[in-house]
Symmetry: C2
Subunit: 451 residues, 2 copies
């Protein structure tokens, strides 16, 4: 059991690093495809007052819509106090539900940043047994420093995906009600993706909706789950089947919290970073191919850059498709296979990013079997995940039947048809479709399963 809970790192030889022939990025002609938007030709990195941070070279000019996701320095006051610190802001544009993502080192030492987003007089911090001893005091101090009117309560949940269920969620409601929280209270999620998802769903449901703030402390949560408003809990038969779309007041990412993150958790977050490159940002993928070692070594500049660029990608997609009617689904590359692994293997056996990594290899394999991508992409994906210390195949216990039974209840099934995110065309282009040859899916499942 102990061994099976460790990801199996595929031992195939990684091709030499010179496989980096990036195809010219052109809009793939298929109508259902999604490619990066280019509305502003200014390089993003040149427009950022980033303190001592400089974007790691080489980064080619990157373009994006400034209306849907833009970056700027945190406000002058906060910047002055944290003068020498890395800090930047990505805005998620959702009309009246827009919010900023603050990214930087030492942001938990800036009480103003948090306090400006706290409404009412009572705050409930939702965290877990691992994070509470490390950061709860710091967060309570940031919430109350110079602000005696605020009362902060906390609820400390057991740590792990296997506790992401309705039973644990009820503990949050119990605490909020016992503490007589009212509609003007604020919930603060302090922890990884599990805490963020549960706290967010609790905030969405408590008194039919109260304010909340995300303070993600894992790379996975910082680059993915804390942004975009997807909240929820698992059901014994599937992940995230119960939840809500509910946006926070702000996301505060203090990259210093990554200093206490276990290596395996760091790698798990890197899986989602790789995903952004594959689905819509070939330049970012190339940057990762060059800078993976810096990320694993927790180089602060590399981390801030990877988080910022990941959040920009996610913010742009979410701004365009908040409720996942189409484009947003592309953020789930590898997740349908990955969720099947997590569900069949038992929540918490593999980390989410580990399952997604194996799932991405499967999605890429299937895309190649369909003739939609050339084999250099297959090799580059395999190689970058190996560099990132991530698994490249499912655990041995997975069978074709196990994949199929879980995938049948995936949220992307519509009227019985399983839609998948697959790569199509040059690096950085993908499709979300149910229109594929079923044999390719069967072949991929067989190729990656024991029976």
């Amino acid at each position: 059991m102990a061994t099976s809970s460790t990801p199996s790192i595929n031992s195939a030889v990684c091709p030499s690093a010179d496989i980096s022939v990036a195809p010219r990025r052109s809009l793939f002609p298929a109508t259902a495809s999604f490619s990066p938007r280019r509305l502003d030709l200014r390089p993003l990195s040149s427009s950022l007052p980033l303190g001592r941070f400089k974007a790691p070279a080489p980064i080619s000019a990157r373009s994006r819509s400034r209306t849907s996701a833009c970056a700027s320095a945190v406000t002058e006051d906060a910047t002055k106090r944290a003068d020498s610190r890395v800090s930047t802001v990505v805005d998620v544009d959702l009309g009246s539900r827009s919010y900023p993502i603050y990214i930087g080192s030492g942001l938990l030492d800036e009480p103003d940043l948090l306090q400006r987003h706290v409404h009412g007089k009572s705050v409930l911090v939702v965290t877990n047994t691992t994070i509470a001893p490390l950061y709860l005091d710091k967060v309570v101090k940031a919430l109350t420093h110079g602000n005696e009117k605020v009362t902060v309560e906390s609820v400390i949940l057991p740590d792990g995906e296997k506790y992401k269920n309705m039973e644990t969620l009820m503990k949050v409601f119990d605490k909020a009600i016992e503490s007589r929280m009212d509609r003007r209270c604020t919930f603060v999620a302090l922890g990884g993706g599990v805490i963020g998802d549960m706290c967010g769903f609790a905030a969405a449901s408590f008194l039919r909706g109260v304010n909340f703030i995300q303070i993600p402390t894992t790379l996975m949560a910082q680059v993915d789950s804390s942004v975009g408003g997807k909240t929820g809990v698992n059901h014994p038969l599937g992940k995230n089947l119960i939840g809500a779309f509910y946006q926070p007041q702000c996301v505060l990412i203090d990259t210093d919290t990554l200093n206490t993150l276990p290596e395996r958790e760091l790698a798990s977050g890197i899986a989602e970073v790789v995903k952004y490159g594959l689905i819509r940002d070939a330049d970012f993928f190339e940057w990762q191919e060059t800078n993976m070692q810096s990320l694993l070594a927790r180089d602060p500049s590399a981390l801030v850059y990877a988080i910022k660029r990941s959040c920009e990608n996610k913010a742009e997609v979410v701004s365009l498709d908040e409720k996942e009617s189409g484009m947003r689904a592309t953020l789930n590359l590898g997740h349908t296979f990955g969720h099947a692994i997590e569900t069949a293997f038992g929540y918490g056996q593999w980390l989410h990013g580990e399952a997604v990594a194996a799932g991405m290899v499967m999605a890429v394999d299937m895309s190649h079997r369909l003739g939609w991508i050339d084999d250099t992409i297959v090799k580059r994906v395999f190689c970058i995940l190996q560099k990132g210390k991530l698994p490249t195949q499912p655990p041995e216990m997975m069978t074709v039947e196990k994949f199929k039974s879980v995938m049948a209840v995936d949220k992307k099934v519509a009227d019985g048809l399983l839609r998948l995110i697959l790569l199509k065309g040059p690096l950085g282009s993908c499709v979300f479709t149910g229109d594929y040859d079923q044999r390719a899916l069967d072949e991929t499942l067989r190729a990656f399963s024991k029976n």
Copy 2:
């Protein structure tokens, strides 16, 4: 125990029916007050093609904003088939989340009405052990008649407010997942307020939101809980503390379902009908004073009229304030006291409308103690609730302490201040305020409690 679960009908003598001096309705000058809007001077009843239905006389000219709530006949096709039947539509105007409320006799015999609002190929009917034997087959037939593509599953929950909790809600998710429902499915709530609230919250949360349809079968649900998108479940410490604002695709009110409703349930619904008159519609209150016997005798025309006018009032308020930032709270006249009764007495001991009736008497008493209304209103409220066979005081077990401890966690508490809906000015005018003399509240609690 059996006796204490029966509402105590106050035995004070009801003043003679000639106390019907309606004060001239003028906008009460207080800035925080809410009064009926008058934007359209056409009498509503004259503009309705209502089949054989005629508005019971006397009804004075009624005015409303046609943009926020309007009534029209159901579409021509349906009307042709149900030619001689009472039918009308009230629209709830919420932009992209607008929906119609169909009201009439025999509407469950009109498959088109339901089917036009079913999206996708799978439907889950959520109902209870009381309603299933009466109407489930009829609803399944309406959903599938001439439409073989649709698969209908059902989940039958135990009946009663005490089952309105997270544990019962999970049975809905279990069934939906076991039946492999996907994002394009439709949930149908078939039952009273408890079923509507639970099914609505399940629909809001399943896969982060699927379509749903309300088929309310109690007068309470038809005039109040099915309209406006409030969904949720109770927590042991308070009613409706966990939930969501989530709008249905349509509400289908077949008044024939009231033929099987127990008398006590009918009276419970009448409490909410009385409420609309008190908070914003003096003409409607006067109509009720004249027509209460017809309502209790289930006269079809009287019922359709009372439901339509209640839905119009609610639709107008919800259109103006969906998320209850102010005006919508006025729909909770008597509910803060009433919820305290329900919670302290144990869910299901008293019906919701019974608790609300006693709560309204208390709110009116407090308004009078504050000098905000004259005593003719106090007497008329007391009298109409007696006529409606509703309690006019809390159960004997209620103490001041029990009221206070539950009211402290009411959703209308903001930063520690309990805001209440109180009458102020002429009949049909109310305020939602925390700015009242606390002694009046204490006196009311003492006057209506044993100790």
